[in-house]
């Protein structure tokens, strides 16, 4: 029991502190509007009335946590109960849109990343010419070209899922390349020599030594790639003009000052990111345990 408290106690304290700060911030930021409204109606607000008002405004500067919670429930659970789980007003529908382009981009980025890494490890020319550019490509604020990719691909006749997935792909391939190059090179000379004494072919060396020993590196980079891919999908939805997806909810909310909608989209995106990264973590433990690589 003491051990559990030792581990979880501080985290619980910090999370509670965040909520307390959030409520305090909501009161502080929304008070001005509440006072203003009261003055126009010639009412004197008592402190408790003031606090109550700051918690229940329609377009607060900072919505209180329970308001965001209610909004999320209203647009997910309540819609499911009414049997309209995938109507356009449902956050589940928007999350689904974002999730599909995230996953497609993630899959493409991972495939491209692994292919590039294999090329870089096995081909010296590619190592020397491509690797510096792969690294340089990440110092470029790539999200800046997201609007252009969307518009250009649209003009060529490709629209919908693919343009967003391309942005996700670009963001997610880099961690995979770097991680896999490291991983595929992780077997040391002794192990490579051993394969040679068994007169293993290049293919055997790859499938039986290099690939298995790169797995821990792969999973670590997949987690980063997944988080990056979600960011790419969200930003990719901005220039399409707020039609569908969590990014569209963010932009729509900011156009119309619907702060509660922005916050609920934000929290949903955070939950989505946590779930996806957690899922990869779970796969990592399972695969590595099966391979006997967990100490």
């Amino acid at each position: 029991m003491a051990g559990l408290w030792h581990r979880l106690g501080p985290i619980v304290t910090v999370v509670i502190a965040i909520f307390v700060l959030w409520y305090a911030g909501a009161v502080a930021l929304n008070a001005a509007w509440a006072q203003d409204k009261a003055k126009r109606n010639n009412i004197e607000l008592s402190f408790s009335e003031l606090v109550a008002d700051t918690m229940s405004q329609k377009k607060p500067k900072l919505p209180a946590p329970h308001q965001v919670g209610q909004e999320i429930w209203k647009t997910t659970g309540a819609m499911v109960l009414k049997g309209k789980a995938f109507s356009k007003r449902s956050l589940l529908y928007h999350s689904g849109v974002t999730l599909s382009s995230t996953l497609l981009g993630f899959a493409m980025g991972t495939a491209l990343g692994i292919a590039l890494a294999v090329g870089i490890v096995y081909n010296r020319t590619m190592d020397m010419s491509v690797m510096p550019w792969v690294i340089a490509s990440q110092t470029i604020p790539i999200l800046a070209i997201a609007p252009m990719i969307i518009v250009v691909l649209n003009a060529v006749g490709i629209s919908g899922l693919l343009p967003k997935a391309v942005i996700s792909m670009y963001l997610s391939f880099f961690p995979v390349v770097v991680g896999m190059v490291k991983g595929l090179r992780s077997p040391d000379h002794m192990q490579l020599d051993q394969m040679k004494t068994w007169s293993a072919t290049d293919g055997q060396e790859f499938w039986k030594l290099r690939l298995p020993s790169s797995m821990p590196y792969l999973f670590t980079s997949l987690k980063i790639a997944m988080a990056a891919s979600l960011v790419g999908a969200i930003v990719g939805e901005l220039p399409t003009g707020a039609i569908a997806g969590l990014g569209a909810r963010l932009l729509g909310g900011s156009y119309y000052g619907q702060t509660i909608q922005i916050w609920s989209a934000l929290i949903t995106a955070a939950a989505l990111a946590a779930a996806l990264v957690g899922l990869i973590g779970l796969m990592q433990t399972m695969v590595l345990k099966r391979m006997g690589m967990v100490r």
Partner: protein
């Protein structure tokens, strides 16, 4: 047609040169020349293909057209650079990294905070923080202050996590030695732990350079005064002036690389003792 053939020929020559260069033992010169040749080859092929296949410049302008546009609109580009990079990204970067550093030192002093804030910080670092942008634009207005705020939020957690990790990088022997010298907390901090943390701190600073530019540019998509790189990109895309968009991207790329390179140079000067810098 002749352009397409020329493009393919350039590709063959470029790749062949690189194969030849890569076969030789790696020197400083070839380490620089090979990626440079690769980059130039790509640019030339781009030019040839756009001309040869007659791709509309509205979709993909050739590099020469981008260069002309770049030279012709240096005034606009400079104005956008000042607005986005100097005012938005740089001030946010300094504020965010500074605050994260101070809080990391504070956290490190109290193990309770460390056990509580670190898992939360790690969690937050993986979240799509860029989504905070519309909220912050609403709070701080359209001008550069809101962009700086987005940058602060974006760079804070990676920097925090890295600094805390770095402050734990010293081992027991080293800390015990400081204790036998009767060193105070401050002395241990400044003479042992901060220097030992430098490689981690610089790792955080380097990650933050890219995040800072991304944050400043994307925040402008949610509203900005009529200047700034993000604003220019999103409006020029709307007007299909893609050559100007590419010119902005060139600026962004150069600034991003220079920013990263500058921090990397500083790292080299500060952590000259670290094994990764000596090789």
């Amino acid at each position: 047609m002749i352009w397409v053939i020329a493009g393919l020929a350039i590709w063959a020559i470029g790749w062949w040169t690189n194969v030849m260069l890569a076969r030789r033992p790696k020197t400083r010169l070839t380490g620089f020349a090979v990626p440079a040749i690769f980059g130039i080859t790509i640019l030339l092929i781009w030019e040839c293909m756009v001309r040869g296949l007659e791709i509309s410049p509205v979709l993909l302008p050739p590099p020469s057209m981008i260069a002309v546009r770049f030279a012709g609109s240096t005034g606009i580009l400079w104005e956008d650079f000042v607005q986005t990079v100097i005012k938005g990204a740089l001030s946010g970067y300094i504020l965010g990294c500074g605050a994260a550093f101070l809080i990391a030192v504070l956290i490190d002093r109290y193990p309770f905070l460390q056990r509580g804030l670190l898992p939360v910080g790690n969690f937050v670092a993986a979240l799509p923080i860029i989504g905070m942008a519309p909220i912050l634009v609403m709070w701080f207005g359209f001008d550069w202050q809101s962009k700086a705020a987005v940058v602060v939020v974006m760079v804070f957690f990676p920097m925090l996590v890295n600094t805390v990790q770095g402050l734990q990088a010293t081992d027991h022997m080293q800390r015990d030695l400081m204790r036998t010298y009767a060193a105070s907390y401050m002395q241990t901090l400044f003479k042992l732990r901060l220097p030992a943390a430098m490689p981690f701190i610089f790792n955080g600073l380097k990650i933050a350079t890219t995040l800072a530019l991304i944050g400043a540019i994307v925040a402008e998509f949610f509203g900005s005064p009529i200047k700034g790189m993000g604003f220019r990109i999103s409006t020029s895309v709307g007007q299909l002036a893609l050559d100007l968009v590419w010119a902005e991207i060139v600026v962004a790329a150069v600034v991003g690389s220079a920013f990263y390179g500058g921090v990397a140079l500083l790292e080299k000067a500060v952590t000259f003792w670290h094994p990764s810098q000596r090789g």
